[in-house]
Amino acid sequence: MAAAQGSSASELRRILTLWRNVRVQRFVGQTVFAAIVIYVGYLLISNMSGRLDQIGLSLFPFVDTTGSFPFISVSGDFLNQRAGFDIVETSFGYDYGPNDSYRDAYFTGFLNTIRVSGMGIVFATIIGVFIGVSRQSKNWLVSHAALAYVETFRNVPLLLQLIFWYVAIYLKLPRISNPLDLDIAIVTNKAIALPFVSPESGFGIWMIVLLAGAAAGAAAYVVRSRRQDATGLPSHPGWWALGAFGAIGLIGFLATGLPLETDTPSIANRQVIGGLQMTPEFGALLTGLTLYTAAFIAENVRGSIQAIPKGQTEAAAALGLGSFQRMRYVILPQTLRILIPPTTNQYLNLTKNSSLAFVLAFKDVFGTGSVIITQTGQAVPIIALLMITYLSLSLFISLVMNTINSRLKWENA
């Protein structure tokens, strides 16, 4: 202090130069920004918790401030309570009943989301590529029909399409009192059922044999593709893999004493029983998601085909390849690199859009979450949980697609 008094002018200059120092500016600027963000966040959160406290709820029911580190109480939280509501439609054989906990209910919804998104992604890709390729067709009718498809489906809200599929199409299927019975399949608005197989004794052993078959198929694929790379002769690794898997599977099937039984659907007591069933709710959701997303994927496909230089098609034609072969072996493989990033976005959209199931009586993770909110009153943690769930799903899809993309780039390099 005493020393500074004597040289206030130089002190001032020092502060001024400090202030003009870019690094100091950056530090101060960012600290002020962060302080404001944190303060506003603190303000909002404390407002919320203050209000919830007044009515005896907690903003962070998972956080036990009286307990010890890490302050998270999983054992005592509300998600362990008995749910009490039933979810009829479950996925992947997951067993859920009203006596299970909210946590199980949430997980059931999560699996349902995964099932509908997974199937939607597969079907939307197939239809999208088909429509996108049709858009490039030389046949005027085909290309314009594809155009009409794209413009119709992508310019109408998905929610509207879902409701339309449900109330105007799926609910109008034959009623259970007057079913459309095709001997092998049953079509009613309670369920569309196809014959399926159900496991019998020996099924477990056969599954193990099948795993072994898959391993053998993979090995065959590797061996044959190495041969192809080494010799340049067409070695059909895919067919070899399929053959190995099929042969081992068939032998195992016979050896374990035919462990599958055909399960033909039938109607009893006004319910469709047996077989492979699809409810109209799931059907409407899947149809709507698939057709909507396919329109966008088709546009991506068209764009990436157009990005391939015309010379490629001409060169392929000069080699004597037909139009199908040109598409399959020359154009489509090249489009993949351009196609994958925008298609990833569409996969993400489809997954997020599956939350629109709430308008149909299909319990996805969002629908289940909103029931839990009503039954427990815990809006804040459930909304947070839902966001984390969807973020993780999005991250997972991005990760998978990025991996595929970088593999492709690497292989083509």
């Binding site: 918790s49 009490g84 449900y166 609910l171 709430f358 009586a361 029931v371």
Partner: protein, 371 residues
């Protein structure tokens, strides 16, 4: 990477958080559950000191009431006039009359079954009157308070007459449509554990599915079933195509809901309801209320209407609204019996002989003393 960027930024972030927390430390309590209402000047102190919903509603000059918009008789939007009508809506009007003296000073917020309880918790609505069942977990665990029951309901099951179901047990494995997020959804799995519930978010999609025979039964409060039956479209066979099965398999006391810890507001809502019941018990109607104001025939009527009895002092119970608030209520919407007659009788639910009759006539509608 880790050394150059992540560790310094983490340290820096922690330091910033520390500074911010230190800066805000003044209004932090020890346990970390800081509420902004703890600031020194005490302006934000909630509810108890007259800063609660009553003050908010008076300031706003309008009551925000959560209602149903698709149950005829209880809460319904008349398609011709776009007006909200129904039993529950009349109770919204009664509360608006009690607090603001104006039956039209109500903002109706239509709520789905899912959104109704959070709407009260978050203060989106001042009061929720939307076929809401009182249960212990909603009352205790969800930050809500239930006022006097306005309608004693029970869950029933409605089927198409042509299907030939005669008792609820016939539907043990049937598909049953219900509304998502209701107590009826839970009661159904208790009563018919092997049935397949199909929970919809709204009554209209549910009805579309039911008409198309997607489900065999429709379960809900019997009042709602009656309302839906009375409005069942002729194209699907009209009301006579439906049967509500006899068995009632749950208790559904329906009443207004307010937020917890605002006892003043709760009392106003509660005693407005009680006032309409007492008025019926004492024979005070919208037609004759002015006669009673001029000449209250007994002390209780005088206390209730906030008028002097034979020159004595005017009774003020201390609700925070003028002592004569029930005058406006009765003049505006009538007593309990009138509200019932106007809304519920037309959908085919007779009152006499049911639990919703006055206690002096063998029902459960009862008012505590007004003194």
């Amino acid at each position: 990477m880790l050394k150059r960027y992540i560790i310094p930024s983490a340290l820096w972030l922690m330091a910033t958080i520390f500074i911010v927390i230190a800066a805000c430390g003044g209004d932090d309590d020890a346990d970390g559950t800081a509420t902004p209402t703890d600031t020194g000047d005490g302006t934000g102190t909630p509810a108890q000191t007259g800063e609660g919903l009553l003050a908010t509603v008076l300031d706003r000059g309008e009551l925000i009431c959560g209602v149903n918009d698709s149950v005829p008789g209880f809460g319904f939007v008349d398609p011709d006039t776009s007006e909200n009508t129904g039993f529950d809506v009349d109770y919204c009007k009664a509360i608006a009359l009690a607090v603001l003296g104006d039956a039209d000073a109500v903002q109706y917020v239509p709520l789905t079954a899912d959104a109704r309880l959070p709407a009260v918790q978050t203060g989106q609505v001042d009061v929720l009157i939307r076929n809401t069942t009182m249960t212990v977990s909603r009352d205790a665990g969800s930050g809500l308070s239930f006022a006097t029951t306005t309608y004693y309901d029970g869950q029933g099951l409605m089927v198409r007459a042509a299907d030939g179901y005669t008792s609820i047990d016939d539907l043990a494995t049937a598909t049953i449509c219900t509304l998502q997020g209701t107590t009826t959804e839970l009661n159904l799995t208790d009563r018919l554990p092997d049935s397949e519930p199909l929970p919809f978010v709204d009554n209209d999609t549910l009805q579309a599915a039911f008409i198309e025979e997607r489900c065999d039964g429709w379960t809900s409060d019997r009042s709602q079933l009656a309302a839906r039956q009375s409005a069942y479209p002729e194209s699907a066979g009209g009301p006579s195509a439906l049967v509500v099965l006899d068995e009632v398999f749950s208790k559904e006391p329906l009443g207004p809901v307010t937020i917890d810890n605002d006892s003043q507001w709760f009392d106003i809502v509660n005693w407005t309801v009680i006032g309409t019941i007492l008025a019926e018990e004492r024979g005070v109607t919208s037609a004759n209320v002015d006669d009673f104001i001029a000449d209250p025939v007994n002390p209780e009527i005088a206390r209730m209407l906030g008028v002097s009895f034979e020159g004595g002092d005017i009774f003020d119970a201390g609700l925070g609204v003028p002592p004569d608030f029930l005058q406006d209520v009765i003049r505006g919407v009538g007593n309990y019996g009138e509200i019932y007659e106007r809304n519920i009788t037309p959908i085919g639910l007779e009152r006499a002989g049911t639990v919703n009759a006055l206690w002096i006539e063998g029902g459960l509608i009862y008012s505590p003393p007004w003194r």
